[in-house]
Amino acid sequence: MIESFATIDTFFFAFGVLLLGGFSGFLVSRIANQKITDMATQGSAFIASLLVMLFSGSILYQGTGVAQSFESAFPMLSFSFRIDGLSAFFLLIISAVGAMASLYGIGYRKQSGGHYRSESFGFFFAIFLAGLFLVPAANNALFFLVVWEIMSLASYFLVVSEYHEAKNVRAGFLYLLMTHFGTVLIALSFLLAQRATGSFDFDMWRASLGSIDAATLRWIYGLAIFGFGTKAGIIPLHIWLPEAHPAAPSHVSALMSGVMLKTAVFMIIRFFFDFFPGAPMEWGLVLLVLGSISAVLGVLYALSESDVKRMLAYSSIENIGIIFLGIGSAVVALGYGMEKFAFFGLAAALYHTMNHAMFKSLLFLGAGSVASATGTRDIERYGGLIRVMPYTAVFFLLGSMAISALPPLNGFASEWLTFQSLFIGASSPSILVKSVFIGSIAALALTGGLVAACFVKAFGITFLARPRSDASRDAKEVSFFMLVPMGILAFSLILFGVFSTTVIAALVGVVGSIAPATGEPLRFIFWEFIEKRAIFSTVLPLEWVAIGFAAVLASVVAIAQWFARKRSIAIVRTWDCGENLTSRTEITGASFSRALMTIFQGVLRPTKQTDVEYHDEALRYFIKSRTVTTDRVDVYQDYLYRPAQSVLRWFGDKAKLVQTGNINTYLLYIFMTLIALLIVATK
């Protein structure tokens, strides 16, 4: 029965549903109101995602990939699909998050008083999903570029869907610009590969194993890392993330942050382990360094943010860094020819990819609910929401715990795996390699701690204590359609954490399917890893941990309650030292992170400026008001992007001088060109 879904037709059928739904919005909105339109567009997206889930899941289960190819009107471009284990795995993640996001989207626009037309939004949403589904399936470089750009373009329109705010437009501009820049690098690497192999078909690239000279390969790898790194948001190519994610509606940000970044990870894995395996291990070190930098800086920036969605965006950068750590260690291991360990690192990367997709989309959805319930994204205006929105609070709490890698949730499992792969690397003979690995371990450890701090802040400031504004006092719990996906995601966090050993075993199976050694398309049989998991269950026994801890907790609570059963509990006001406590006496997010920011001020470059207003300017005794504005110096803008732009501008201004306006000059141009050509011609 499962097998019947593991055919490419299911895949195409899903696209049919998706696009029909996407276009249907334009019709529905004519005859029905926006709410119905949302139902139609988002609902069909939901169904399509379910279909793709079914498809990829059955592929994984059944263990045989599918491939199909169609001719196109253009030479060299062929619409060829190939879904192997890796693609299926990523498809599964994408479609799962996609399903949740579209479910959430049904209620979102109304809830947030969204200022966008739901038919156009639904259209681009469908296109975006289609692009996301096609990227892992494409098997021809040009076709890949096409779908890659479709994905980016559609997401651009989603980002600017609330274009009445100039900020969003700027964010979209930056986003599309950066992504285009990345695409240029990608295209270059593809061109190089085509030059070396004479074809744009990925299969030909796979076939050309070892026939490409080292220099070309070096360029290919480098361009791929930075091209896809732009999409993945590694520092310093990350600047578009914190702009674009807040601008987009929350379920779109969930998709972008949760899965769109992962498509870049997907392609990097393909490049290093599938297309051109056997990269020298230095590339692994490069990835490790990039990963460490992104992880630490990302979480530091997240810590210093007060816009909840920007904070989540930065934390995505950090998680991408962690994923890169996994990939990097795998590359190093493969460079040393230790395939087993490479599997390990890759499994870590994939596992964290999956987990991050889950909890980051959950957090974005939660943030979206909070933002739409309170009408602001500034966490300084939240507070006490746990009482008015209990469900959202619980889900958000679970998300925060997972992202802070608290056992036995899934975040811990993948971070554990990443740590292990790094430990393996740290015991390598070469001093260089070892020091890089030790550095990465330190980075990862530091990151772990800082993430916990960051999300204590996020959750505590948002949901706990007293409301800091009327908006958050009067907030209401969000609608059913928005709660359900969050609930599902939150539940899956626990599921994928507790049964981590099973998951890891499964991932090793997936990794096996892209192992350079194997010839057949997909080496992944569902039953195989049931045995495999025995290996891991002794190492990472999270189910036992979970059970044990639950048991202890239950017994302790029971005992304590029994012991204190006669004691009463008095509900009184917080101790206020005789002052009356207002929301202004609570700790703010800024002051919560201020200590850490001060410690890392060398990196974060915080700025602080105080304006004091006196009652009497002449004699400055009585202060009327004192405003303190804190900010960060944006190093990348100041030292990287603005200079680049001004260089372009300089060139532009110089080029303008050609157009003098004097006709004699123009005639002279022609004349000189003629003379020059004549001289060249007779040379």
Partner: protein, 483 residues
């Protein structure tokens, strides 16, 4: 026969307009439209004939091979679109009282002659005849550029006249040299005999010298940097339908001349010179336009520079040869469609905002929903973003060149990114934001929207798949050039 008819039709329209009184505007418009329709249908007919393997011939003067048919189709189709747009555009102008009926009649006369000249140039079998026709395009467009009779327009027209006259005279010199320099003379006066003579007796150096003149001469008309200087002025001052024609078609026609001669030079065994020259002009045009577009302040000039940029890309494509030629021919089609689309919608924008300053244009999406969406889409497509065809044509051109000139191709790719940056900056500013006061939202005139919609549809259709005859002609043309 059809060939002659479809070329004469616009001329007849011009004569009709000449004899009619200015008041009979509808008849004038109708005849102009009818003429364009006829020539378009004729072109389609010829396309089918050529696809079937025969060549349309009229006397010894006119002869349309695959290459000709390809360009003939482009010319006539864009001509048809822009005549439709002109009707709406001029009516709007008249309604606003900017121009009177006499000017309208004058417009249609010149317009028809212009198209007649271009059709003639594309299908001429004699190099000299082609030269005459192209010279005629200059003479007919001069007064269209100075149409608004403002000093700036006059200045633009004057520069256009002088530079192109000089260029074309150099082109004439080149033609003469081609005819004179092959030993034992040329048997006939047509391309083929010239090619044969060149293949037989023309010394490479002589061919190079002659081709240098051709390149500079017709290159001025094509708008290669640094001979491009007339182009931004002319395109930005002319009425939009004319800019659309000039940018979308006229440049291609001039390019056709260069292509034909380059074939002869190749026959004479100096192909490498052609390649070098194309590479130089290509890269230089792309670079210059990229940087100027980045700091451009006037959207019509922006589009004009984008034309220069695309001409550079074409040059590169033909330089790379092989699949690059195919892609370049494809790119001519896409570029013509898109650029005329962009210029026509720019015309609508101009009518709405009455300024060509980018800074003055804000909130386009609210002010002109249909036009703005098409404008934005046209920009996206033209800058080579998938899923549109230009992506494929550009990618194929680059691929063709990457084998032999990796450095050039990489730098061009970067430059194209710069173009995108500059272009996108301005477009996104124009598209979003608040509509300035005094601008009433809403499309002004259905006739100005229809053609751009049609263009958009045709472009999208052609970037998904093209009909068999078109593909056949394209392949034949590719063979012709690569031979």
């Amino acid at each position: 026969m059809i060939l002659a008819f479809l070329i004469i039709a616009p001329l007849l329209a011009a004569i009709i307009a000449l004899v009619l009184r200015p008041r009979q505007r509808t008849i004038i418009e109708g005849s102009a439209f009818a003429a364009q329709l006829i020539s378009f249908l004729g072109a389609v007919n010829i396309l089918f004939a050529v696809a079937a393997g025969e060549t349309a011939v009229f006397g010894s003067w006119l002869r349309v091979d695959a290459l000709g048919a390809w360009f003939l189709l482009i010319v006539s189709f864009i001509g048809l679109m822009s005549v439709i747009h002109s009707i709406g555009y001029l009516r709007e102008e008249v309604r606003k009282g900017i121009i009177g009926f006499k000017r309208v009649r004058q417009y249609y006369i010149l317009f028809s002659i212009f198209l007649f000249a271009m059709l003639l140039a594309v299908s001429a079998d004699y190099p000299i005849l082609m030269w005459i026709a192209i010279e005629a395009t200059t003479l007919s467009t001069v007064f269209l550029i100075s149409f608004y009779n403002k000093p700036s327009a006059t200045e633009a027209a004057w520069k256009y006249l002088m530079l192109n006259s000089l260029g074309l005279l150099l082109g004439l010199l080149g033609v003469m040299l081609f005819f004179s320099l092959s030993e034992g003379g040329v048997s006939g006066f047509d391309w083929e005999s010239l090619r044969l003579a060149a293949g037989a007796t023309l010394s490479p150096v002589a061919a190079k010298i002659a081709f240098a003149c051709i390149l500079v001469g017709y290159g001025t008309k094509v708008g290669f940097a640094p001979m491009h200087t007339w182009l931004p002025d002319g395109h930005s001052k002319a009425p939009s339908p004319i800019s659309a024609l000039m940018s979308g078609v006229l440049l291609n026609v001039a390019f056709l001349a260069i292509l034909r001669f380059s074939g002869i030079v190749k026959a004479a065994g100096a192909g490498d010179f052609v390649i070098q020259a194309f590479l130089f002009f290509g890269v230089f045009s792309v670079a210059l336009s990229a940087f100027i577009m980045f700091v451009q302040k006037n959207y019509k000039r922006l589009l004009a520079y984008s034309s220069i940029d695309n001409m550079g890309i074409l040059a590169l494509g033909f330089a790379f040869g092989g699949i690059g030629t195919f892609a370049a021919l494809l790119h001519t089609l896409y570029h013509s469609l898109l650029k005329s689309l962009l210029f026509l919608s720019a015309g609508n924008i101009f009518m709405k905002y009455e300024s060509t300053k980018i800074a003055k244009v804000r909130g386009l999406f609210r002010a002109l929903p249909a036009t703005s969406i098409i404008f934005f889409g046209g920009f996206i497509a033209l800058s080579g973003l998938p899923p549109f065809g230009v992506f494929m044509s550009k990618m194929l051109i680059l691929t063709a060149g990457f084998q032999s000139h990796p450095i050039i191709v990489s730098s061009v790719l970067i430059l194209l990114a710069v173009v995108f940056f500059g272009f996108f900056r301005h477009v996104s500013e124009m598209f979003f934001g608040k509509v300035p006061e005094g601008v009433v939202p809403g499309e002004s005139n259905a006739l100005t929207v229809v053609p751009i919609v049609i263009l958009a549809i045709v472009f999208i259709a052609l970037s998904i798949s093209f009909p068999a005859p078109l593909r056949m002609v394209l392949d034949q043309a590719t063979v012709l050039i690569n031979k």
